[in-house]
């Protein structure tokens, strides 16, 4: 019973509270989709944080901590910090152009810079297609946890349906204003809860030092910089460190965050804060994951993704584990809502408006966006019914597809002209290679120990570079 009280109170506080005041405002695309481009440093930082630290953070980090060890903490924290660098390199210019030209979606900017409508369709299409698995991943994570904290009373399928419906309702009503308010509360609570979870679980294991010593005696390779069984080789280190630099700014829900800063200084400060915070918060789930070897040895694959809820249930009280896990569910939902809002905006403005040749009035545009939110959420729910990989692998596939777009985005945003043929090639050739690698038609051995996405990104960079040279020659 206590679990249900905590669950309902928490979700009401986080989500319903954020809707107060939103309905009274007139719905315009700028207010509904971009919160009037008026976010301050703290709001922008927390909305970026809560948008990006999701199921992947709570369950994925703990699961990989269990499988690989402390190397995963360094990999993710430093890698995420590099994303702060790309926010500054790319985001500042995106903010500036977006503000002058009034862009709302990433593809509007690409069209504005290139003047090539089919290229903007391709760009937006790739973003949408590769965000869908990541969107589904939030529903998968929420489903796992809701089933876990209710002791199976609400099974996985029902959990997935319930979470999807709640998210649809409040995104449809509130738009970006409610999303940003939710993210602020959610980001703060996420940090506090995960810190308390580490302290509590650590105490129950005899103290943090004792818990680590016990794991060290079980498997010392979890403490190696290269991870368990040398998982993170030099090539893998390199691969993952550059990976986040290329892919995180290409998440459409994050790309659109570049537009919503009130001024350039706010965006800059948020990016620096974003680079710092993973140093502190990434250790929490990884630590609990590593300690999982003391209580639940021998987990593999998808089972390891459940280590965080399992450890909380075993080592903390019922109410606390319900509180943290509800916080995790809210984190998934705060990522999911941003994704839904971003994708619905993109479909409306990047496809509906140019294809129909009509510019709908503001209210109709918002209405179309709301209908699309519901459709996309249901699509994500369908994928979540049959998740195809572990959370980490599902994320890696989605992120690789998005990272392909970085070189072209960079060139166009910086004002270079890319010859049309090479601009298309820079997206299509790496995409084909991604699928060939994913379905194991191409052997990963040709990557010489690097992750396949490194090769894919290099191909995209080469295509864009050649395209810029060819355009300059003309």
């Amino acid at each position: 019973m206590m679990v249900y009280i905590i669950l309902l109170s928490y979700l009401a506080f986080i989500f319903l509270g954020s809707l107060i005041g939103v309905k009274s405002k007139d719905a315009t695309p700028e207010s509904y989709f971009l919160a009037d481009r008026n976010l301050t440093t703290i709001s922008l930082f927390f909305t970026i944080l809560a948008t990006n630290f999701s199921a992947f953070y709570f369950l994925g980090f703990a699961g990989e901590g269990y499988k690989v060890g402390y190397a995963h903490y360094v990999m993710m924290a430093l890698g995420t910090a590099f994303a702060g660098l790309s926010f500054i390199i790319l985001g500042t210019r995106v903010w500036k152009i977006g503000k002058i030209k009034g862009y709302i979606t990433p593809a509007e900017l690409i069209y504005g810079q290139s003047g090539d409508r089919p290229l903007s369709y391709l760009y937006s299409g790739v973003m949408i297609v590769f965000t869908l698995p990541y969107l589904a991943l939030q529903i998968v994570g929420g489903g796992y946890i809701l089933e876990s904290i209710t002791g199976g009373d609400i099974n996985y399928t029902l959990s997935v349906i319930l979470l999807t419906i709640v998210t649809i309702v409040y995104v449809v009503i509130g738009g970006m204003q409610s999303v940003a308010r939710t993210d602020l509360k959610q980001g703060l609570l996420m940090i506090v809860f995960m810190f308390l979870a580490v302290v509590w679980v650590g105490s129950d294991l005899g103290g943090i030092t004792q818990a680590n010593k016990e794991v060290l005696s079980i498997d010392s390779s979890l403490f190696e910089p290269s991870g368990k069984n040398g998982f993170y080789s030099g090539q893998k280190w390199f691969s993952f460190l550059i990976f986040w630099f290329f892919c995180i700014p290409m998440f459409p829900q994050l790309f659109m965050r570049f537009y919503i800063a009130k001024d350039l200084n706010i965006l800059r400060k948020s990016a620096v804060l974003y680079a710092f915070i993973p140093l502190v918060i990434s250790i929490f789930p990884v630590m609990i994951g590593v300690w999982g070897h003391t209580s639940f040895p021998g987990l593999e694959g998808k089972a390891a993704d459940q280590i965080l809820p399992m450890m909380l249930v075993r080592h903390t009280s019922e109410w606390f584990s319900a509180l943290v896990m509800t916080g995790a569910i809210a984190a998934f939902m705060s990522t999911l809502d941003s994704q839904l809002l971003a994708l619905s905006t993109m479909i409306t403005r990047d496809f509906y408006v140019p294809v129909s040749g009509r510019q709908p009035d503001f209210k109709k545009e918002v209405l179309i966006g709301r209908v699309l939110v519901a459709i996309l959420a249901c699509l994500g729910m369908l994928i979540a019914f049959k998740p195809f990989d572990t959370i980490f692998d599902m994320g890696k596939m989605a992120f690789s597809g998005l990272a392909i777009l970085f070189p072209l985005s960079y060139a166009l945003i910086k004002g270079y002209t890319v010859q049309r043929y090479w601009a298309f090639s820079s997206v299509i050739v790496p995409l084909v290679m991604l699928f060939l690698f994913y379905y194991q038609v191409l052997p990963t051995s040709i990557c010489l120990g690097f992750e396949y996405f490194v090769l894919i990104i290099i191909i995209a960079i080469i295509c864009v570079s050649v395209g810029v040279r060819m355009a300059n020659k003309k």
Binding site: Y73, R93, F276
Partner: protein, 63 residues
């Protein structure tokens, strides 16, 4: 050119720390964590510090 100085400084420091970090014995724990994790923490803070100055230069350019 100032921004490249910051980036160069971070990379140089990172490389030196990196060498030290990876040559450490992982069984040498501080507060229960391997010592190399703390070296990494220092590297991360230096990186953020460099990023702060780099971002200031970029913001001035963009204005």
């Amino acid at each position: 050119m100032k921004k490249w100085y910051y980036i160069f400084f971070t990379l140089l420091t990172g490389s030196i720390l990196g060498f030290y970090l990876f040559s450490e014995d992982s069984k040498d724990l501080i507060l229960g964590l391997p010592r190399w994790v703390f070296y990494y923490g220092v590297l991360h803070v230096i990186f953020v510090w460099a990023l702060h100055y780099f971002s200031r230069d970029i913001a001035i350019q963009e204005r």
